[in-house]
Subunit: 228 residues, 2 copies
Amino acid sequence: MMSKATQLLTPIKVQDSMEANKPDTATRILDVAERLFVEHGFEATSLRMITQQAEVNLAAVNYHFGSKDALFESVFMRRIGPFVAACLAELDTLEQSGQTLTAEQLVVSFIRPCLALSKDPARGGALFVRLMSRTLVENHRLLREALNQQYSIFVQRYTSAFQRALPQFGAEDIAWRMHFAFSVMFNAFAGNDVLKIFVRSQVVTARDPDMIVKHLVPFVVAGLTAPI
Amino acid sequence: MMSKATQLLTPIKVQDSMEANKPDTATRILDVAERLFVEHGFEATSLRMITQQAEVNLAAVNYHFGSKDALFESVFMRRIGPFVAACLAELDTLEQSGQTLTAEQLVVSFIRPCLALSKDPARGGALFVRLMSRTLVENHRLLREALNQQYSIFVQRYTSAFQRALPQFGAEDIAWRMHFAFSVMFNAFAGNDVLKIFVRSQVVTARDPDMIVKHLVPFVVAGLTAPI
DNA sequence: GTAAGTTTCAAACGCTTGTTCTAAAGTCAT
DNA sequence: ATGACTTTAGAACAAGCGTTTGAAACTTAC
């Protein structure tokens, strides 16, 4: 297997324009695995399902990624870095303006990257948010180990930003409200409509991202800023 | 296998007080399966894990329930009926008072049964709410088929109640806000803290149900009633 | 053209899965 | 105690799982 450093130095291969403009093996595996992990979950997705749909050999997964666990980690890591970076960039821009930030601005700084993600199929579209919500509820090894401290800066930055935006609340109140706020935002973009447990289809099944935002922002901001 | 009708007519068996006051085979399977389905998910829970922990024979699951799928359905159905009934009973009590209901009253009418569930180990404690959130994100066959229309009364009752409590909003706005409200309430009781993706432990890990409610109600009510 | 390195491929490995089968054990009314 | 019925028990089943192997095919550099 090519090392990671070697990969970066390798010149980009020009594809035969005739038959295959499809991406290379590893990328095809990542794309298919991402979709199937979201649709069926980690355990219910077999390597044979992945390799068949990606049109690669069964052994290719273990060759390129080492194991099914490592494949999941690669799928997740491919997206989370750019996503967190996008959120932090939004925060940077806001804070550089010097003005006192509102809760709404902070909410939007998180929602905007979600929205961009939802509209960009090249970055997996809305799949990654759904993958995160699945990964969360499936309580993956990945979350308890590798990932845990690596992106803690995300929560730290938002926590201190919200503490400055909502100085009337104590640290514990802020933590609770952030928990609720991010919970509803994540699930909104992931399309987890709890009420669909009880009825066949809700209005949310349309899932126009702009529509989500339009209704989501007032709800979350009101919840965050409500007097105790 | 005993038919369902026969089961209801069978007199309750007096247990030997000496060694086994543990419940009968089917109940023990249901209890263990409920816990393991919540902990590991449906696919990652094997019948052998269940039967070993329940201290019953492997074949007992297929004998009493027919299949693993049917076992899951039984686990779910055992809880959902009483839960929905509790919510509707709260609604009945409120509406019989004749007064105009507030959004907060409606929120509490849902939260109170969640709270009662969380505090009653005999009814699975907080497990059932977690099971629902897992079932939702795992997109189970059960939800797409059997369950779907059976408890639609739940959503109907809350929808019309919220429409009366918040007459300033249109039907679509109500639907969106209910989607958000129930999303955050479910995830709060299920303990799904999205931010724990990024940091090791949040304040929520304590999970004192009364603490959840104290912070949850103001957030949800503010979100529901916020001007558009 | 040769050799070294990289990637693909088919086949097989040992293991676990849900389910089934048949016999044994237990329960209960007559 | 007999016979009908219900429940438990251990063993086995075919099928699917993640992973490994070794050779073939391809690519790249000299």
